[in-house]
């Protein structure tokens, strides 16, 4: 249904630097959560057009979306992998409400549809901490927060208090971001091409909200079975631990009937901070992968290796009955380790060609790559040195900069030949994009990847080779982090990495 002219918003009046001018289609809907929406790309706005302050606040909310939210580039923000889509959307709701309030609309009194209390009760009953956090953040800076918290408190008082604190923290961060005068900017970032620039504030807060919604589990070294591995014992006999961000909801236990504790309490919340101030699109440079001619054969390799054994069902080596004193007439297959070795080839690593050759030789069957970026990122920046049992003859010249650490690590993780294939990251941890120094924001991207995928980090070639030797011997190396990463973690997440 097309809305009547009366009360129709005028999104055409709004100026943006990242979209073209043009007429919008405005349709009407009921003032119910989920129905009003704005599509900036197709220039469509669906809003209630009746009289009333709630309807007016909803129109203002959608108009602010049309004014400041990402248009074509929303998927680009999601694909950056800095923050989850749900966190980005939740914080964006809060940013939009903040800006509507700043423009003089009383969203703190009127922007609510009456469903929030019930939503709070339902989420608390489900015991889904992550959903509760994202929803509370989405309701912050609006009249919906209070009834939502009330609903939560009916089922779980502690959660209610914690969620209120989280929402207040987000609100305070937006106030702080507004002082930088870029909160509503629709400028396009020169370096990355990302727009709108104001959304960087949403992204940095969303990244923090993700850490609150899915707090990192304490690291547990599994797999070590005591075979000379610093006396550590096995927990579960193998298998990848649950990744950060994929933790099961903090279910309220039925047995003890006690409400679950908040995953982030008040004291912990004080320690958790955004990893950047926002207002500029800090990003990795574009990864440019080059596969060099892999002319040399590398010993070892991937795939199933068959060996003789004295146990089995199918005597494939019956001839050994006579010649083998241990009568190993059966076949046992063993999978090669595979794995990926990604090497930071920046100047601070002081890598020599001999170092790279050593690593390639220690990682037979693994994919080995080195990365390094020039100041303009014009040349290829990631070189595949070895893959599928073959390796290069000569190691290429490297440009000396970092620039793509996070992207190179993401690429390396994608190269895993199987789920449990190890990834070894040889770096001093001084990661950064192009034309800026070390940033907590980007370091956190690396840290999260390392923690989620159990990447083995080593500071230099010698340590890297030791880790590879351990892997070859079937021993899982211990987790280690560069000191700059530990400092970053302390600053933005609190506690020790």
């Amino acid at each position: 249904m097309t809305a009547t002219m009366n009360n129709q918003p005028m999104p055409e009046m709004l100026g943006r630097r990242d979209t073209e001018l043009g007429a919008w289609v405005v349709d009407s809907c009921a003032p119910v959560r989920g129905l009003p929406h704005t599509n900036i790309v197709d220039k469509v706005m669906v809003v209630p057009v009746n009289d009333g302050e709630t309807e007016r606040c909803i129109r203002a909310h959608e108009m602010v979306h049309a004014r400041v939210s990402p248009a074509n580039d929303f998927s680009a923000w999601i694909q950056r992998g800095i923050a989850s889509e749900i966190a980005l959307r939740a914080v964006e709701e809060s940013r939009v409400n903040f800006l509507a309030q700043k423009a003089g609309f009383d969203v703190l009194t009127h922007l609510s549809d009456g469903s929030e209390l019930e939503a709070g009760v339902r989420i608390a009953k489900q015991g889904d901490w992550a959903s509760a956090v994202y929803t509370a953040v989405g309701f912050s800076n609006s009249a919906g927060l209070k009834p939502f918290i009330t609903g939560i408190r009916r089922e779980n008082r502690e959660w209610g208090d914690a969620l209120r604190d989280i929402a207040k923290k987000v609100e305070k961060l937006l106030v702080k971001a507004d002082k930088r005068r870029t909160l509503a900017s629709t400028a396009v970032d020169d370096r990355s091409g990302l727009a709108p620039l104001g959304f960087t504030h949403t992204e940095v807060i969303a990244e923090m909200v993700d850490r609150i919604a899915n707090p990192p589990e304490p690291e547990v070294d599994e797999d070590e079975n005591g075979e000379g591995q610093e006396g550590q014992s096995s927990n579960d006999g193998g298998g990848k631990p649950e990744a950060d961000g994929e933790a099961t909801p903090n279910k309220i236990g039925k047995a003890d009937k006690q409400p679950a504790k908040p995953k982030v309490n008040k004291d912990k919340l004080k320690e958790i901070n955004p990893a950047s101030e926002g207002g500029r699109a800090v990003s990795w440079a574009e990864l440019k992968v080059r596969k060099l001619p892999l002319t040399r054969h590398a010993q070892g390799g991937l795939g199933r290796k068959r060996r003789a054994t004295d146990m089995g069902r199918n005597p494939r080596r019956i001839g050994r009955m006579l010649i083998d004193p241990e009568r190993r007439i059966f076949d046992a297959s063993k999978k090669g380790n595979g794995g990926v070795v990604i090497i930071d080839g920046s100047g601070s690593m002081r890598l020599s060609t001999a170092d790279l050759v050593k690593i390639m030789e220690q990682a037979p069957g693994a994919t080995v790559a080195v990365y390094s970026t020039d100041s303009q990122n014009k040349k290829d920046n990631l070189f595949i040195l070895a893959e599928k049992g073959r390796m290069v003859d000569a190691v290429p010249e490297r440009s000396g900069g970092n620039g793509v650490d996070g992207e190179a690590l993401r690429w390396a993780i994608k190269q895993k030949q199987h789920r449990n294939a190890p990834v070894v990251f040889i770096t001093d941890g001084l990661v950064h994009g192009i034309n800026h120094g070390y940033e907590d924001f980007l370091a956190m991207d690396c840290i999260k990847q390392v923690r989620n995928e159990r990447v083995i980090v080593r500071p230099n070639v010698g340590e890297g080779i030791k880790a590879l030797e351990q892997l070859k011997a079937g021993v899982k190396p211990t987790m280690w982090y560069p000191s700059c990463w530990k400092q970053t973690w302390r600053r933005v997440q609190g506690g020790n990495l």
Binding site: N7, Q8, M10, K102, F105
Partner: protein, 239 residues
């Protein structure tokens, strides 16, 4: 105004006129200054004459007509097209034909003849019997609000091969508006059913100086006043 700052549509008009195009159609939403451009842009040293087409318009306004004088004699008056043909007597002038899509069949046929190429165009004055031809420099700009050029007759499109859509007010026309309203006037010129013309912005601008924003918006925009004021408030969050 620096030519480099012209919006694309106006730059195209400028380029066409500088290149010697003397038959031009300007189309697009009303209130963007198409007529103003026709009357003033390019070479109008021979003068400029305007015709506004309506359903009941006759050829009298195009070619001319007899009119009784004070002493009871019938006197011939040239129509706008003939005046434009003759310009200042030395050089042909500019004929600006507004709302060309609204011209009736007879008038349209006459206009086709009048805007034909100089070699084909000729007209005999019924009073003096003198043959008249367009002088050098005669040019025609037609304007229309229709968006689809296919709606115009082929014969017209053939005579006017260059058609430019004007979707923004001319920067010179915007200068008459207060600085804080200029961007809104640009954005709303081509806003479909919610379009607000430059003339409406002029009225709002003038009234608000006396009555204040709120009262002025109610007088000019009536039931859309709140939406208009809300949009301005929300746009400023990004300022």
């Amino acid at each position: 105004m620096n030519q480099q700052e012209l919006p694309v549509c106006w730059q195209e008009v400028n380029d066409a006129l500088v290149a010697g195009i003397d038959r031009l159609i300007l189309f697009g939403p009303p209130g963007t200054g198409k007529t103003f451009a026709g009357m003033s842009m390019g070479d109008v040293s021979g003068g400029a004459w305007r015709l506004i087409c309506t359903d009941d318009m006759t050829n009298a306004q195009v070619e001319g007509h007899y009119k009784p004088s004070a002493n009871g004699e019938w006197k011939w008056n040239d129509g706008q097209a003939i005046k434009a043909w003759q310009g200042d007597g030395l050089r042909g002038g500019r004929l600006v034909v507004d709302e060309i899509d609204k011209a009736g069949g007879d008038v349209f046929a006459t206009l086709l003849a009048m805007t034909d190429s100089p070699e084909s165009a000729s007209w005999e004055n019924p009073d003096s019997g003198r043959k008249v031809r367009p002088l050098d420099g005669f040019s025609v700009v037609m304007t229309t609000n229709i968006e689809d050029m296919r709606e115009l007759p082929e014969a017209l499109k053939d005579r006017f091969p260059v058609a430019i859509r004007i979707n923004q007010p001319h920067p010179n026309a915007l200068l008459k508006l207060s600085a804080d309203l200029r961007n809104y006037a640009i954005r709303m010129a081509d806003a479909g059913e919610r379009r607000i013309s430059l003339r409406t912005f002029y009225a709002f601008d003038s009234l608000r100086k006396q009555l204040g924003d709120e009262k002025a918006s109610k007088m000019v925009f009536r039931d859309r006043a709140q939406s208009f004021m809300d949009a301005i408030a929300l746009d400023k969050v990004g300022a």
